[in-house]
Amino acid sequence: MTVKEVSIGDIGARGARADAEFAGDKMLINMGPSHPATHGVLRLRLELNGEIVTRCEPVVGYLHRGDEKIAENMTYNQFIPYTDRLDYIGPIHNNVTFVLAVEKLAGIEVPPRCQAIRVICCELARLQSHLLGCGVYGMDCGALTVFMYAFTEREKLYTLMEQLTGARFTTSYTRIGGLARDIPEGWLGNVLKVMDDLEPVIEEVDKLLSRNRIFWDRTVDIGVISRADAIGYGLTGPNLRASGVPMDLRKDTPYLGYEQYEFDVPIGANGDCYDRWLVRMEEMRQSIRIIRQAVERLPDGPWYAEDARKIFAPPKDKVMTRMEELIQNFMIVTEGPQIPAGEVYFEAENPKGALGFFIHSKGGGVPYRLKIRSPSFCNLSVLPKMVPGHLVPDLPVLLGSLDFVMGECDR
């Protein structure tokens, strides 16, 4: 058997191999790193037998920025903007997960109002992420309308983010021990209004695709991941739940008071591409349910931990008028929040799966080692197992169903 390698998209090799023939029993081709169906800079090395993929080797790292190295060289608060750029589809959830990890190490419990605001933020991020995930998934299957519907609604969520944080995309909203600021006046009403707008659109998208014969043909029994494989390959989030594992960290290891909210965790039966779609659609409905409960019961009171003196900066008006608070603010800005020595691992149910932060601290304002456990990285590692046996046209569907973000995968 002869194997010929043809490289498309590799500038350096293209000229040299221009006369490589498309002959032989098996053909090796590159898909990506610049390919619209790979949703970012993922590269797949595929071995094809005719139209059937016989081997798939993902090549990641094109977006590697060394976030873990950067984290070792700056204070905890300075690292928060870097977490925006992990899963940049729902950035505010990364902010929350990161500060929860640091707060766990510092032993800080933020007040109920702060927790509830963070819950609203997390669920808005989940909606942002799933609207994109489902929208482009539809587009990958040729249903462009769904993409347009989803993005129209997603735009409103960005406007909510802008009202809350001042930025549409790079939110950096949380601080160790609290938030950057309290919610603006009237914001909760806007949140409810957007939820009212969003709900019928989700139903409409559901009607358009979930019982669509063409969509069924492209997704049902495609890309089946068994329960054992899903656990073995470390899948988390909707991809794991679609394979029938009822693991949702919001229920299993509740944080931010998630145990107070009523919501269901949808799980799939077959673990195919269609189940992953259904799970994401249902999670959006559940997120709206959580947001409504959180808005309704949002407690009054402080929005930051008032006793975390060496960790959370004092209010600006006091910094400007009082000596003690000025010094405190100066020390926190220059030296970083003072976090005790120790080791901690915290993961939260991010839209893409379990985003984890492992912190090894020797005390002070800078982590000695910070490891980011990225759900997209683990979710992609199942590709060599899942893809072989499928047709080339199935690839966009398989990739779309996994809903990954390379910014988070490559860190």
Partner: protein
């Protein structure tokens, strides 16, 4: 839960408790690692390998440690295991890819970033950096800015004569270096690219006064 962990500790006398701010953590000698992880997975329900990572302890011996985070999908609790790498120059550790396929990519990453060789790994090569990259970036001696290296593609290096350059640090991105006095750590303190003493460009003719 506590009884269960004490039972693990009793059944495996080589284990030592490890200081931890959250879940239970153990130090395990590398020769017992595979046996212990198999036992934890099959008999104690820690069926989910969440994460594999490493720490570079710089001066301390042993220098490199590999950490495993296990999760139980039934009981919803975490367990942290750490195992030292015997050799500081050529750190090595047994691979757990046979137990959990997810360890494949995690171990490749630990190799890529720290240079830890996982014995028994089916395909140990770099994952985030490119093949042939000469350094291990998360080792503590590797500078934050990076080091000059040739481009991944040889013909690109040949054609352009350029290489991958370290990032500009002072006056560049807002990175503060560790250590040293605070005034020196402030990144803009060392920025001499503009000062009051530097002559301003002459104002264009006909421009309103003050418009430099």
């Amino acid at each position: 839960m506590r009884e269960r962990l004490n039972a693990i500790l009793e059944a495996h006398p080589y284990l030592a408790a490890r200081p931890s701010a959250d879940c239970r953590a153990f130090n395990c000698p590398p020769e017992h690692l595979i046996g212990l992880l198999t036992c934890l997975r099959d008999e104690h329900g820690f069926d989910f390998l969440t994460d594999v990572t490493a720490i570079d302890h710089q001066e301390a011996r042993p220098r490199f440690e590999v950490l495993y985070h296990l999760f139980s999908t039934e009981r919803h609790d975490y367990l942290r295991l750490a195992t030292p790498c015997a050799d500081d120059q050529q750190p090595a550790c047994p691979s757990v890819t046979a137990l959990w396929p997810t360890a494949d990519w995690h171990e490749r990453e630990a190799y890529d970033m720290f240079g830890i060789r996982f014995a028994g790994h089916p395909d140990l090569r770099r994952i985030l950096m490119w093949d042939g990259y000469p350094y291990f970036p998360l080792r503590k001696e590797f500078p934050l800015a990076g080091l000059e290296t040739p481009f991944p593609s040889e013909d690109l290096t040949e054609a352009t004569g350029a290489s991958v350059l370290p990032a500009p640090m002072l006056g560049g991105p807002f990175h503060s270096a560790q250590g040293g006095p605070m005034s020196a750590r402030e990144p803009r303190a060392g920025d001499q690219s503009w000062t009051e003493t530097r002559p301003r460009p002459a104002a264009a003719e006909g421009a309103p006064p003050g418009a430099a």
